[in-house]
Symmetry: C2
Subunit: 397 residues, 2 copies
């Protein structure tokens, strides 16, 4: 038969990254395109021990249906963590729900707030997984240019002035994916003031915040939320394990109530064994020591990549110097063919990077940028991959 | 601030069952309202052993990001299982995707096929979780009356004739939730023919099919699918453990491709540790012996409940006699106040049942029915609960 799909899904394409990642199933391809935590970042022995304990002590609860809101003990722990660690008021008038990754928190925030045709304002470039979530509800994406210290405030105000039915401003303030840029405190305050003035909600996505290896922590926009208009999404993917698919949302109670209803329709509740693993991990392990170890791993890998770029790249290639997270962003000079660069890199030289077009609100707009990830490759792959990419920059530029 | 929610979510209420289940957090309430597998149905020792083996042998793969389509080894096993066990063609032109419970398969089927305002035709009554999924995409629900051998074919044709933009017929052919009714083979064929004639797709939900404890298996509608218009959803929730949130969808390749794109936006992929647990469970354990044990458990509990009804209920109360699954459906005689009966049962007598209104396509329509579950309560609770409900039927009728 001839399948006719919904308008919202018919035009949605598989993530360009996931398509590139299929190339990288070949283990001889150097994986700068992925976003996986480093394998040695996983606390394997702790997970082994914790999981065995849960299944020995409380097997029925770990296997039975649970409540949509999340494992109550984990919610309590996350509220305390958000308060003590992120200085976020996570109780009245706010509430916390456990989600199946931060991705679900982002998707459901869009579902409960946006009608088809409403606008979502986002950083340009931004995380393709979130952009596709917004697209899957037939919203209009309005991209706002990034500067070295975060979104352009002037252009954001322009967008808020001229965009009808803007419902959400989507932001990744720390070590943004894909740019690696961190938003300054001044800009966080300015963004929040604009959101209040134009009566729009903010969706703050912070998967990488705990992976700062340089500079000082900057308060989350949620800490400024005197008007209760910020939805804050966090995740265990980068600090524990993405395969567990556990994230959380802290937002005003009425918003969490609607997200809960939408989540019931989506997957009933998040895998409860994984929630119990996260709970014991947070309460039995030394989280600060674990995070310190992660920061050391990623500081080393980022340094190695920056050194490789400096040593090998054509000097006309610009790049960001992240203070944390997993990504940096390179920009070829005007006139260079970025898509050809990325295609040649993977097809002829077995180095996979992601063309910046994948991260644009309007994918048909041009960009000279591509994304590099330093958490997935081994140190040897980073060194070798940058020699190869460096040669390619010199050949093509 | 004043929160304005999307039209599709604004009117959606929390599931009435989940609200009743909150009453039942009180352990002194007899839980006939839930739908949990019996605690002794969980293969705890196998899950303990399998999980330890996975985390010892393959910890990185169990914790790292994985592909949206699902764990490839599990997909292969499920294709074989669908072929050998259910006689379903699960390969070309069909494909299989692993979902976060069958609930996600149902939700995403609706998302990829239905625009807002399109119609979903369903059995009336039907599973509230699915009905709310459909509602959450602002579809119109068109309920079609149930008979003792399944949906009324005459009324289904009437609905297909008169409903504009009907995109899906949603059916639970085996031991339906809430009614406990099984659709005859003749009706399965008739439904399929109507779907072909009116060019509508069928969404076949079969979470309970393996729990038949009486009578002969009846082929799934998917086995009749010569025109590739059936989306078949299965689940590990009732045969292994619902807390793992692992289900699967077998559907024509173009439909699975769109569901995959939509799932990327939703939760990236299903918890990979749980997928690996399901895979080892299917390949290392004696599934047929396990299913036989489950059927014995539920046969015994259903028998106990039917005996209790017969011994205690006012003779004017009608009830279904399921050949499998977890539920039966009781109907009070005309004139009795069903809602008062259910409310009094939980509030004054601590026996929780679900009023049938929760399962109607149009919740404001009246019904005299309520749902009883026999998998969650202990045998002692079943005996005592039916004495209490029986007395109440005699008092109120």
């Amino acid at each position: 038969m001839n399948y006719i799909f919904s308008d919202k899904i018919a035009s949605l394409q598989p993530s360009a990254i996931r398509e590139i990642l299929k190339h990288t199933a070949d283990p001889s391809v150097i994986p700068f395109a992925a976003g996986n935590p480093a394998p040695d970042a996983f606390p394997i022995q702790e997970v082994q021990r914790i999981t065995a304990e849960i299944l020995a002590e409380n097997p029925i609860a770990a296997l039975q249906y649970s409540v949509t809101e999340g494992y109550p003990a984990l919610i309590t722990v996350m509220k305390d963590f958000l308060k003590s660690h992120n200085h976020i008021n996570s109780s009245n008038p706010n509430e916390v729900i456990i989600t199946s990754g931060a991705q679900q928190g982002i998707e459901l925030s869009c579902k409960v707030l946006c009608n088809e045709g409403d606008a979502v304002i986002c950083e340009d470039p931004s995380f393709i997984g979130s952009l596709n979530s917004f697209r899957s509800y037939h919203t209009r994406l309005v991209g706002v240019e990034m500067e070295q210290d975060g979104i352009s405030i002037e252009k954001l105000e322009q967008a808020l002035k001229t965009t009808p039915n803007a419902k959400l401003i989507y932001l990744i303030p720390n070590f943004q994916n894909p740019s690696g840029i961190t938003m300054s405190l001044a800009k966080r305050k300015a963004v929040y003031e604009l959101a209040c003035r134009y009566n729009v909600m903010i969706l703050e996505d912070n998967p990488y915040g705990d992976l700062r290896f340089e500079g000082e922590d900057i308060p989350a926009i949620k800490t400024l939320d005197t008007e209760n208009r910020v939805i804050y999404c966090g995740s265990f993917s980068k600090i524990l394990a993405p395969g567990l698919r556990v994230g959380y949302v802290c937002a005003p109670k009425p918003v969490i109530a609607k997200i809960t209803v939408a989540k019931q329709c989506s997957d009933v509740h998040t895998n409860i064994l994984s929630q119990m693993i996260c709970h014991r991990f947070m309460t039995q392990c030394d989280i600060e020591a674990h995070l310190k170890r992660l920061r050391q791993i990623y500081a080393g890998k980022c340094r190695l990549m920056l050194d490789g770029i400096k040593a090998n790249f054509h000097p006309s290639v610009a790049y960001t110097k992240p203070q944390g997270g997993l990504f940096l962003y390179c920009t070829l000079p005007g006139g260079a063919d970025m898509v050809k660069f990325c295609t040649t890199a993977v097809a002829e030289h077995k180095v996979a990077v992601v063309p910046g077009t994948a991260f644009l609100a309007d994918e048909s707009a041009g960009t000279q940028s591509f994304r590099l990830n330093y958490s997935t490759p081994s140190d040897g792959q980073i060194v070798r991959g940058l020699e190869i990419l460096g040669e390619l920059t010199k050949k093509l530029l």
